[in-house]
């Protein structure tokens, strides 16, 4: 929040001139009828996407030359806001002259770019980006109908943020590579979640299959597991640094050193010791122990014995170790 955000901008003021112009006067709205297409020797495809009760619905008409798979004419009808109407109009424009296989590569990003007045300024405010996604979805639907395949088959990856077209794999990779810890960081790195925000968490405008909060939590969990596994592997190979071990691994390592080098001498004198806790106390690692049996209350337990335990652990594991009897 800063001065510039103190007074919210009107949504309409953030529309490009192209959006405004096409909303007022769409160039390709209308219908194509089967009989007309047939009379020209072409095939008509009519695809619907969305529903009025969801707030957005679009119907796309393609007249296709079956000899070349080329879309010779296209029109649309739309139930939606200004952005939805302008997006549908530009999407229809972009389809004309392309083959079905080429048209299916048109994304909502292409549609939004085509609506910009200049390449640097977005055509619509972030929260309206989702209105351009429909245009992309209906193309896939139309292509699927023409080619006799499922519309989903055109999607090679799982798209999490439809506004910015960011895939699940990309998100996981970016989180791992950059050690991202918050959704805000994900948005900074990928733009995912920066537009209509439906993909951030449940409860937004649209219900999504994947949400950034879950992807972040799952990926962070995976990262932690991988880290633990790597540490365990390194320990097994004898190469793990004590400082990098998990707490459980540290306890095991300390126990092993005590068993091997110290405990036998304590038992011989009728005593023993146990590890209570290990805590990071930068730059030290504090190991809390408790003496048992004869060692408890023994004069040497705070001097010679303690020194022997600490120096052994320092030598074998890390010179940052401090041993603290409680």
């Amino acid at each position: 929040m800063a001065k510039a955000d103190m007074l919210g901008e009107s949504l309409w003021d953030a529309y490009s001139n192209k959006v405004t112009t096409l909303m007022n006067n769409p160039q390709h709205q209308g219908e194509i009828f089967e009989a007309d297409a047939e009379s020209r020797g072409n095939k008509l495809i009519v695809a619907d996407f969305g529903a009025e009760s969801c707030g957005d619905a679009v119907r796309l008409y393609w007249e296709i030359d079956p000899a070349t798979d080329k879309i010779v004419d296209s029109k649309f009808k739309s139930f939606g806001c200004g952005t939805a109407i302008a997006s549908s109009d530009v999407m229809t424009e972009l389809c004309i002259g392309k083959t079905v296989q080429e048209a299916v590569k048109i994304t909502n990003i292409d549609v939004e770019m085509a609506l910009r007045d200049d390449p640097e300024t977005p055509a619509v405010p972030p929260q309206k980006m989702h209105c351009s996604v429909m245009a992309y979805d209906v193309i896939k639907k139309a292509a699927g109908l023409y080619l006799g395949v499922d519309a989903e088959s055109f999607e090679e990856e799982i798209i999490v943020c439809e506004c910015a077209r960011v895939s699940l794999n990309t998100l996981k990779e970016v989180i791992k590579l950059n050690d991202l810890k918050s959704v805000e960081e994900i948005t900074d790195y990928t733009k995912a979640g920066g537009f209509c925000k439906s993909c951030i968490k449940p409860g937004g405008h649209e219900a999504m299959d994947y949400y950034l909060v879950d992807i972040l939590a799952d990926t962070r969990k995976e990262m932690d597991e991988e880290k633990m596994k790597a540490a365990a592997d390194a320990q097994a190979m004898g190469g793990a640094k004590f400082e990098e071990m998990t707490l459980v691994q540290q306890i095991k390592a300390v126990d092993a050193i005590i068993d091997e080098n110290v405990r036998q001498f304590l038992i011989m004198d009728g005593g023993d010791m146990e590890i209570i806790d290990i805590k990071k106390a930068d730059p030290y690692i504090d190991i809390y122990i408790r003496y048992l049996g004869a060692c408890s209350g023994c004069a040497s337990s705070a001097t010679g014995t303690l020194y022997a335990i600490e120096s052994t652990l320092k030598e074998k594991l890390s010179d940052k170790i401090r041993v603290l009897p409680i």
Binding site: G8, L11, W12, M23, N24, P26, Q29, E31, I32, F33, E34, L44, I45, V46, A47, D48, F49, G50, A51, E52, S53, C54, G55, D56, A57, V58, R59, Y61, K77, S78, F79, G80, C81, G82, T83, A84, I85, Q127, K128, H130, C131, K141, G144, L145, C196, K197, S198, G203, G204, H205, E206, A207
Partner: protein, 405 residues
């Protein structure tokens, strides 16, 4: 021609109100709490504004009417005091309100839930009205407060405030009503209904923005929201906003004198506009017009998305409002529209037209003509009105509409 039909959002400040306020900005600018005559010279005008306010609401001299910055502050004050007055004492911890309240009530309730207050959000019937027996059935011995709006900002529907007030009185529960859309639009007689707290705001009845009030019945205790110099008997500290209080008093007087006559005039224009809209096919309006504030119409136009309609009306210099999700910042479908539950589509096609006493017959004629053109154009684009049936793949997409509550 420019026509403003968004009077439930805010109204034009009546020129007579502006005139009444003007001397108190630069001529009589003294602080009324000062001892010297610069301050005390404002007292007669302030007292006059207080008298105008009490008279307009028919409040008793034993009641308090405290000037606040707006109804949002008044609503926050009443609700937040439940936490201070009851929850901290451990005696009561429950508020009953409705799903269709203004965000200043709903957001405060959400905040209070985080502080340990339990809140029941009552549903409304298909007309958007909260039924008194529903309120009754949710009051428990832990209920500290019932808060039900007098009239809806979205639909204009009027709740049975008198009945609810009687129930609260009988049950010994405090009753607050957000009267923002009622005060100045319909008769509000505080001797006729049992209301412990009533919030109102001047800019909804041709007064200035930034001034409102809270009526507090018969010295009911209420923890102050603002502490400071003990102005307004310690109820609400802060230097009195002299010109605005005077403006609100004048605005209230102008709005409430001969209110039945004013209502009849506004209602006649509203009904004429509503009838003309309903002549268009596949349109419907929400709620019985006899139980609505006389200035409000919420209309659903099949196949025409709300923002699109607002856009076309705006191109014709007509200002209205929409409950359409697409025209708001948070993109969620309008919770009030969804609470009515008649039709999900309404949440996306609803247009709210709200008149004022300054709306003229010529303006209504203009709106009727432009409205029809806009509907015709947008239905020309609309997929709902496509003649060609889809050949294949016409199945409807599944979607989920999100309720706030």
């Amino acid at each position: 021609m420019q026509v403003y039909l968004d009077n439930n959002a805010t109204t034009m400040c009546d020129p007579k109100v502006v005139e009444a306020m003007l001397p108190y900005f630069s001529e009589q600018y003294g602080n009324p709490n000062s001892l010297h005559k610069f301050g005390s010279s404002t007292h007669p005008a302030l007292m006059n504004a207080i008298n105008q306010t009490y008279k307009a609401l028919n409040a008793s001299d034993n009641d308090d009417i405290v000037f606040t910055s707006c109804a949002t502050e008044s609503n926050n004050w009443v609700l937040q005091s439940v936490w201070v007055d009851h929850v901290l004492n451990g005696d009561k911890n429950h508020i009953v309100t409705t799903e269709v309240e203004h965000p200043s009530v709903l957001s405060t309730c959400k905040f209070l839930e985080e502080q340990g207050v339990k809140v029941t959000y009552l549903p409304v019937n298909e007309e958007g009205v909260v039924e008194a027996h529903t309120v009754k059935s949710f009051i428990t011995d832990k209920t500290a407060l019932v808060s039900v709006m007098w009239a809806s900002n979205e639909t204009g529907m009027i709740n049975p405030i008198k009945e609810i007030g009687e129930i609260c009185k009988e049950k010994g529960v405090l009753f607050h009503t957000d009267g923002v859309q009622a005060v100045g639009k319909i008769p509000v007689d505080l001797q006729d209904v049992h209301v412990d707290f009533l919030s109102f705001s001047a800019h909804k009845f041709h007064g200035p923005k930034g001034i409102g009030g809270l009526y507090i019945k018969d010295s009911q205790p209420l923890s102050p929201l603002m502490h400071g110099g003990d102005q307004m008997g310690g109820r609400r500290s802060g230097t009195l906003n002299v010109p605005y209080i005077i403006g609100m008093g004048k605005a209230l007087e102008l709005a409430t004198e001969n209110i039945e006559e004013k209502m009849a005039s506004i209602r006649a224009k509203r009904d004429r506009l509503e009838d003309a809209i309903l002549e268009l096919s596949d349109t419907f309006t929400v709620g019985n017009r006899d139980n609505r504030t006389p200035n409000t119409i919420l209309v659903s136009i099949k196949g025409v998305e709300g923002e699109g309609m607002l856009w076309d009306l705006n191109n014709g210099e007509i200002g209205a409002s929409t409950g359409s999700a697409c025209a708001s910042e948070d993109l969620e479908a309008n919770s009030v529209m969804l609470a009515i539950g008649a039709d999900n589509e309404l949440a996306h096609t609803g247009i709210r037209l709200s008149l004022s006493r300054f709306t003229t017959d010529a303006e209504i004629d203009y709106v009727i003509s432009h409205f029809k053109k806009a509907v015709e154009r947008l239905r020309g684009i609309s997929s709902s009105f496509a003649k060609q049936a889809p050949t294949k793949g016409g199945e409807v997409q599944e979607c989920e509409l999100h309720h706030h509550h």
